[in-house]
Assembly symmetry: C2
Homo-oligomer: 404 residues x 2
Amino acid sequence: MTLSPLAPDHFPDLPVIDGVRFSSGAAGVKYKDRTDVMLAELMAGTSIAGVFTRSATRSAPVLDCQAKLGADQSDRAALLVNSGNSNAFTGAAGERSVEAICDAVSDATGISTARIFTASTGVIGQRLPHEKITQKIEELVESLTCDGIEGAAKAIMTTDTFPKGASAELTIDGQTVRIAGIAKGSGMIAPDMATMLVYIFTDAKIDQAPLQALLGALTDQTFNCITVDSDTSTSDSLICAATGTSGVDVTESAGFTQALRDVMLDLAHQVVRDGEGATKFVEVRVTGAATDAEARKVGLSIANSPLVKTAIAGEDPNWGRIVMAVGKSGAQADRDRLTIRFGDIIVAENGWVSPDYTEEAGAAYMKAQDLTITVDLGIAGGMGTVWTCDLTHGYITINADYRS
Amino acid sequence: MTLSPLAPDHFPDLPVIDGVRFSSGAAGVKYKDRTDVMLAELMAGTSIAGVFTRSATRSAPVLDCQAKLGADQSDRAALLVNSGNSNAFTGAAGERSVEAICDAVSDATGISTARIFTASTGVIGQRLPHEKITQKIEELVESLTCDGIEGAAKAIMTTDTFPKGASAELTIDGQTVRIAGIAKGSGMIAPDMATMLVYIFTDAKIDQAPLQALLGALTDQTFNCITVDSDTSTSDSLICAATGTSGVDVTESAGFTQALRDVMLDLAHQVVRDGEGATKFVEVRVTGAATDAEARKVGLSIANSPLVKTAIAGEDPNWGRIVMAVGKSGAQADRDRLTIRFGDIIVAENGWVSPDYTEEAGAAYMKAQDLTITVDLGIAGGMGTVWTCDLTHGYITINADYRS
């Protein structure tokens, strides 16, 4: 897999989160010559919140995690994730695999299965050869280390071309609070979560209920605002674990909310930058809509339009397709009030191309790697932003032959 | 443009519809060395019904046609269509172009502008050079002929690789009724109509109001059940003109309804077969849904999924992606009640792959050019069928560089 041209230079230095240890290994679930399983151990008392796909065909591990949220948190906890096989649409066998993995982690760590969260990502519909994972667990437990997060980020990759990490440090009342997160995902990415797995760790102190509420609200502003191909996975999982070791209560902290949002948005953007076949990162800003919800609807209509995305791939400033996407969105719009901008360039206004716009200026703008398309609907004050990438031959190549 | 591998062998022999004459010509709106404008003249008394895009940014000709439906029909009528430029998002200039064309047709034919319907298809946002069209109108009027329908079908093509026509003849009370239709469209095709122009002519006798009702109902079962790329045009127009010259009143005729539906479905399928880059024609049948509307929602979720469409392009029997598309559709579904078939092959049932299914059988099936995917949700009796094509490198090639 060629590295995405939109990849960052290197994996970021993530702070160590006190109370969390990681390990990763090669279980050979599907891939050869790479790691494909990660374990995270969380100290006793860690609050665990989660947001999961709403797919009607969600996977066995997702259903298991959802059932376990909000359990008594006096015990330690563990996260066990494998790549290569999603254990989705695998019938009763899928549930047995989750059980077998949880039992093995519990046996090796002494952690109750009620506090063991698993996830699987990869091909749908093939039995998970969970014995390959369970026989690796002793080794994973023995190699747990507080600075193993980069290895964990690598072990959960599927068609990703780079591991994804982001962090924040903030000072509250003179004390430092740290957040470190990792993510995987590059195709089947759409709102309502994506084929995304995201794990965020913090030493902040916050109860499970407010952490869950915060995570849900921030997911709507971050991961649910990105789209690669409008497809939604059966396995999407986002877990945030707060160990509380900093001693700083962040329950009412606007600073923590902002920092967590920044980490989530950074990871979400990295997922788009690793979109299958992506060569352009595109921010679609919609303003002047009847409501925020309508703005988002228009944004997603643009960001999911194959015709808009292929035009961007071809560096073609084909703003007519943006008009089309606004028109089909179902949101309230008026041709004559619409303003479209590429970056700072006003392309269209008053129901037609802007008198100052030139095709040359538009074409020159489209050559950039990071693009901003702004649409003002001129109706009212609703606004929203979504992020996407272009649709290229690379996407077809990757997806027309993924399984063989 | 290479001919679609799914194209029919030849343009069908369409019956002459008494009371309709056609002509076509090369106005040079955008294309060189081909025809790009068609005129149809309809005898006095012809009932004209129409269904149009619901896009919020629909084009000036669409708005004009919608305003003219239901006018007094004692006069003759005319249809004037150009390809190469859609006259959409062209501000007030767009309306002036429609007016200029209608005036020119009226001057040359003596038909009132209230009975002149225009359409334009092609690039969005560029001023329509309507003077190129108006100066051709005398010539078009002079060359009107009752057997010019194939030429008309060719003149309205844009990225189409073949002209599309379909017909039916039926006998009612010993008398023959004829229907002949043409269509264009190959990209930006999605429910709520497509970048499609469809013109259907019949010598049946039926008033405008019942014809309008019939056309709307049949559009929902035909053109609104196809999707190439989920994008919806600003120009979609379907017009059905009934001259009444057969003398047969079809207002209550089930046979006529069926024949008109057959013609519409045939044209709709031809549009899919000419889908940009298409190499496979796919019928998606959904049964067992909570309601017919839910069945259609699931069908469209499958038919619009880039991951399903690229798998089909790669001849990959990746049924896991169908499970994903069912799950994300928002319709009521239950993993364990789902049955998926490729043709007659049961692929998945009872929440997992079928015990009799082999990857070899699935892969062999996927090599066919025409595919049927059946999904039974096992919930209730709702059903629906949609038609689509695969998503290939050809689609990217065509659309990443359409304007230049």
